[in-house]
């Protein structure tokens, strides 16, 4: 048995257990703009999904209480971090219906950070914990 193979086996095991990156991270930009104590739950229709640094952005339209369409932009972390959580460049396409749990901007602008999203019947963890909910 070559030592190199042993290293590979061990390291692969170690890497598998270490790829999970804490959910609180938004490494480059912080969370000062958000009301982090309040979860916002919306249903939306995707208009654009941008898979890039420094943070991936999901754009979607939401019907407000009066039936008007409001255009939202919500962020998650960067592609390498989101890849480690099972997100992909092609996971959203325009027209997809999404159920989102967000923290939203304090100033009322329709921007936010995705904590959880359901698309095509599959649930994905975003960034951080859902306010008021125990961490998964």
């Amino acid at each position: 048995m070559k030592k190199g193979f042993g290293i590979w086996v061990f390291s692969t095991w170690m890497m598998t257990f270490s790829l999970v990156i804490p959910g609180e991270l938004l490494a480059h930009h912080g969370s000062a703009i958000y009301d982090n104590g309040k979860a916002v739950v919306v249903k939306g229709v995707v208009t654009e999904w941008t898979w890039s640094n420094p943070h991936c952005l999901l754009e979607f339209d939401v019907k407000d209480a009066k039936g008007n369409s409001v255009h939202w932009v919500a962020e998650v972390s960067n592609p390498p971090d989101m890849t480690a959580r099972g997100w992909t460049r092609k996971m959203f396409k325009p027209g997809d219906e999404v159920d989102l749990t967000l923290v939203a901007a304090k100033n009322g602008e329709p921007i936010g950070r995705i904590v959880r999203v359901v698309v095509n019947g599959k649930t994905y963890a975003g960034m951080g914990a859902v306010p008021g909910e125990a961490k998964q």
Binding site: M1, F5, A27, H28, A32, L57
Partner: protein, 258 residues
């Protein structure tokens, strides 16, 4: 049936032996390979240096001089207890200026490829695909260095498992870490890479900048790094001015509106 059982048993035994071998002795005076922090958050360190984060705790207050405190107040970070909205910050790295050194190690330290030659050791970083070189040919630090984004580094082995790096000549435009801690051109640093075994090493980093800090402080204290498989594919993670601009236009600038 017996053959299948024998085959599976052999596989398990082989995997067990291979794992044991992996715990073996480290090679002498060799850091070659791809290393990453054991705990990813230790390397990413959004709130500042792992062992001295800007979290408001008294034990993490840095010993600023008056000049250091004045320099700190000019840096508006979008992370840490004094964070400002992304549109209001002035982080040089957010316009894709080089992070430089020591920030490249104190923020976003991810998989890092160490390459050794007889004359130097090179560190190839994930973030922004930048690298630094550490001279190991016996030369000393320059006495009056011109500033460089990554400074000037020399290293030597103090024993078979311990590689000590000295750095000076850094560019004061860079931040020490993601919390916006400042440094002057007088900053000197020591990094101690201590290999514990085949798969693990520890990194301790001490900063000494008498212009901005009244005494040396330890930014990393025995932070553990693990050896990754040599076939690890390091993801691309670049700062792109056009992507930053688009992020600011669509998102960050709107969060800063009053």
């Amino acid at each position: 049936m017996r053959a299948a059982i024998l085959f599976i048993s052999t596989l398990f035994i082989a995997a067990f032996i291979a794992t044991l071998a992996a715990f073996g002795q480290a090679p002498k005076r060799d850091l070659t390979g791809i290393w990453a922090p054991v705990n990813a958050i230790d390397g990413i360190a959004p709130n500042g240096a792992r062992n001295m984060p800007a979290d408001g705790k008294p034990e993490h207050e840095l010993p600023y001089t008056a000049a250091g405190l004045a320099a700190l107040k000019k840096n508006r970070s979008s992370n840490g207890p004094n964070e400002v909205a992304a549109a209001d910050e002035n982080d040089p790295a957010h316009v894709c200026d080089p992070q430089g050194f020591p920030r490249e190690v104190l923020f976003e330290l991810r998989a890092t490829h160490f390459i050794q030659t007889p004359l130097q050791t090179m560190m190839l970083f994930t973030y922004n695909k930048v690298w630094r070189n550490i001279w190991t040919d016996g030369r000393g630090l320059p006495k009056d260095p011109d500033p460089h984004w990554f400074g000037y580094s020399v290293g030597k082995w103090t024993d078979d498992k311990t590689f000590v790096v000295q750095t000076n000549g850094t560019d004061a435009r860079t931040w020490v870490d993601n919390a916006g801690r400042p440094h002057s051109e007088d900053l000197k640093m020591e990094e101690v890479y201590h290999r514990l075994d085949q798969n693990t090493m520890e990194l301790t980093m001490t900063l000494d900048d008498p212009t901005y800090y009244t005494k040396p402080w330890v930014a990393l204290n025995k932070m553990k790094l693990k050896l990754l498989p040599p076939t690890t594919e390091i993801p691309e993670m670049m700062c792109s001015p056009s992507e930053i601009a688009e992020y600011n236009r669509k998102h960050a600038s709107r969060g800063a509106k009053q």
